[in-house]
């Protein structure tokens, strides 16, 4: 291998920003706090990046670090919501919530990645219809195509998404937690 430098920071950053942010919002239920937690997480990663030669290790580190930072964030809220206590207890009691959120994050990340791969028009129609909840007429008007074409693109997008998921062999069996010592 030519490079001894390991992973490119920016690639890791752009690959995991959204998943980490989503994950943290799920844990904290607060966008501002989540933003801070994600920032802190990437700073920690940045300072240790030479250690990581494999993306999976980097990924495990990022999520573990985000979890720690999220817990700290909850503890620092102090007086605020009594709800924080409950969340903290749930998070610390066992790894339940953490692991469930990790699974959910991973699921959504995989779906989002497939949607991103759709051809442009299908992707636009799909996002307008399913994310933005727009009607066929609204989409047709917006994209300057007729209703039938909207319908067809939507159908093709759905078919493709199903097909992709079926053929996806990304099923690498990876243990997320084996790097506990990193913390």
């Amino acid at each position: 291998m030519a490079s001894s430098k390991g992973l490119i920071f920016e690639r890791i950053y752009y690959s995991y920003y959204k998943p980490l942010y989503f994950f943290t919002v799920e844990l904290l239920g607060d966008a501002q706090d989540a933003q801070d937690v994600v920032a802190e997480t990437f700073v920690k990663y940045y300072q240790r990046q030479e250690r990581f030669m494999e993306e999976q290790h980097a990924k495990a580190f990022l999520f573990m670090t985000a979890r720690h930072a999220a817990l700290n964030s909850i503890r620092n809220r102090k007086n605020h919501e009594a709800k924080a206590d409950a969340v903290a207890r749930e998070l610390t009691s066992d790894n339940n919530s953490f692991f469930d959120k990790l699974v959910l994050t991973e699921l959504i990340r995989q779906i989002a990645a497939e949607v991103d791969k759709l051809p442009e028009m299908q992707r636009k129609v799909f996002i307008s219809a399913y994310f933005d909840g727009k009607t066929t007429e609204e989409i047709a008007l917006e994209l300057g195509i007729n209703a039938e074409s909207v319908y067809n693109n939507k159908k093709r997008a759905l078919n493709k998404l199903r097909l992709v998921f079926k053929d996806s062999d990304i099923a690498l069996f990876i243990c997320f937690f084996k790097l506990f010592w990193l913390n």
Partner: protein, 411 residues
């Protein structure tokens, strides 16, 4: 506790799409039975509303650039300070006449520059950024997103974050059919040639089909095939690029065969490498072509009539000027500091410094009423605006006059 989040997520995905195998269905059922929260999640993902809701939350978040996050920007700046430390090792310390610079200085300056009394502000030229154009074989062009710092070329072309580079529809209808898939091989088995072109004030990274990574500096172009075939991997460069070449063995050969060499052709020379890290600066407006080796070994071979070649060791630089090839030692890390966001100068004339500035600050024009005969060593952040850069010149007693985009250097 089941610790395989990715795997469970994939099972859930297949569950949503109804493509679970029998064994997988059993596994998922067993997982759901483990804990009530698992069962709840399984129940939730059955709801299209739930999934759509989450997907919307996921996609709705725009990714800020790393340097837009203050804490991260600081962390990156601290890392840059290693450069200052390295500089102490320069064997050319004796040649230093002035030291321009550095991070700390730039910080002080940035507070000065934000002073409204500075009348240059309105017309200030901002530093360059991630800008590049991809030119397809049929001549059509794609402007690459400034949001991303690089692309990965394989079967398809993606940005570093994995999102697809969108090929405009008009490209498809105008060109041949396979132009729609720039990564594809044409019917006759030949590979397409692509060119990555940066304007003044632009830089971009590309990962080639063999895994080789290239950082392209401003006002440069790199021509490369969508697939490397034959015994050699050949790319053509004008301007400056830093390469991290991956080792590769010839496709058709048995185990005893040689490594497949990687060739960087510029106007004046060819660099032959097997797998290594090095920088090539071959700007048409520079009198010299410089090849700097960081790691491994490279062979530099001038195009000129009198064939003389040089094999570089790490930390050496080959300078080709008027067909004459010379090798010297230097601090190679400084030479490639540009990929980490720093301009560096080593015993350079004002003209040489200004040529670098012109490539980074688009619209900047430079004229000379006189030329200081001093040489300068140092550097500055590529994130500085033109005003900040000029203040550094001022601090080093380089006199100039600023007229909008034009800078006139005084004797």
């Amino acid at each position: 506790m089941d610790e395989h989040a990715e795997y469970i997520a994939q099972l859930l995905l297949k569950h949503i799409n109804g493509t679970l195998s029998e064994n997988e269905a059993l596994e998922l059922r067993a997982w759901a039975a483990e804990k009530s929260s698992h069962a709840a999640l399984l129940e939730q993902v059955n709801s299209a509303t739930f999934v759509t809701e989450k997907l919307r939350a996921y996609q709705g978040r725009a990714i800020p650039r790393p340097d837009e996050i203050p804490a991260l920007r600081n962390a990156m700046a601290n890392r840059g300070s290693r450069l200052r430390y390295l500089r102490g090792w320069l064997p050319y310390a004796a040649a230093i006449v002035f030291v321009l610079f550095v991070g700390v200085l730039t910080y002080q300056l940035s507070s000065k520059v934000s002073n409204p009394q500075n009348d240059g502000m309105a017309a200030d030229i901002q530093p360059g950024g991630n800008r590049a154009t991809l030119v397809l074989e049929n001549g059509s062009t794609i402007d690459l997103s400034a949001e991303h710092s690089g692309i990965i070329v394989g079967q398809t072309i993606k940005y570093i974050d994995g999102s697809m580079v969108r090929i405009p529809d008009k490209t498809v209808s105008r060109g041949r059919k396979d132009a729609a898939k720039p990564g594809a091989v044409t019917e006759d088995g030949a590979s397409n040639y692509l060119a990555l072109v940066t304007p003044r004030g632009g830089q971009y990274q590309v990962t080639l089909p063999d895994g080789t990574r290239v950082w392209l500096n401003a006002a440069s172009s790199l021509r490369y095939p969508s697939r490397f075939m034959g015994d050699e991997r050949i790319v053509e460069l004008e301007g400056e690029a830093y390469f991290e070449v991956s080792e590769r063995w010839s496709e058709n050969s048995d185990r005893s065969a040689a490594k497949q060499p990687f060739l960087v052709k510029t106007k004046a020379q060819t660099v032959v490498v097997l797998g290594t890290r090095f920088n090539v600066a071959a700007y048409p407006d520079e009198p010299e072509t410089k090849t700097t080796l960081i790691e491994g070994a490279v062979l530099v071979s001038p195009v000129a009539d009198r064939p003389s070649t040089a094999i570089l060791k790490p930390g050496q630089q080959a300078i080709l000027s008027n067909g004459q090839l010379n090798v010297r030692k230097l601090d190679a890390a400084l030479e490639v500091a540009w990929i980490n966001g720093y301009f560096t100068f080593e015993n350079e004339t004002v003209q040489s410094i200004m040529r670098k500035a012109v490539r980074w600050y688009d619209r900047l024009e430079v004229e000379y009423e006189g030329i200081p005969d001093k040489r300068y060593t140092g550097g500055f952040s590529r994130k500085s605006s033109l005003s900040q850069f000029l203040q550094i010149l001022e601090l080093n007693n380089i006199r100039y006059e600023r007229k909008a985009n034009k800078v006139v250097i005084k004797p």
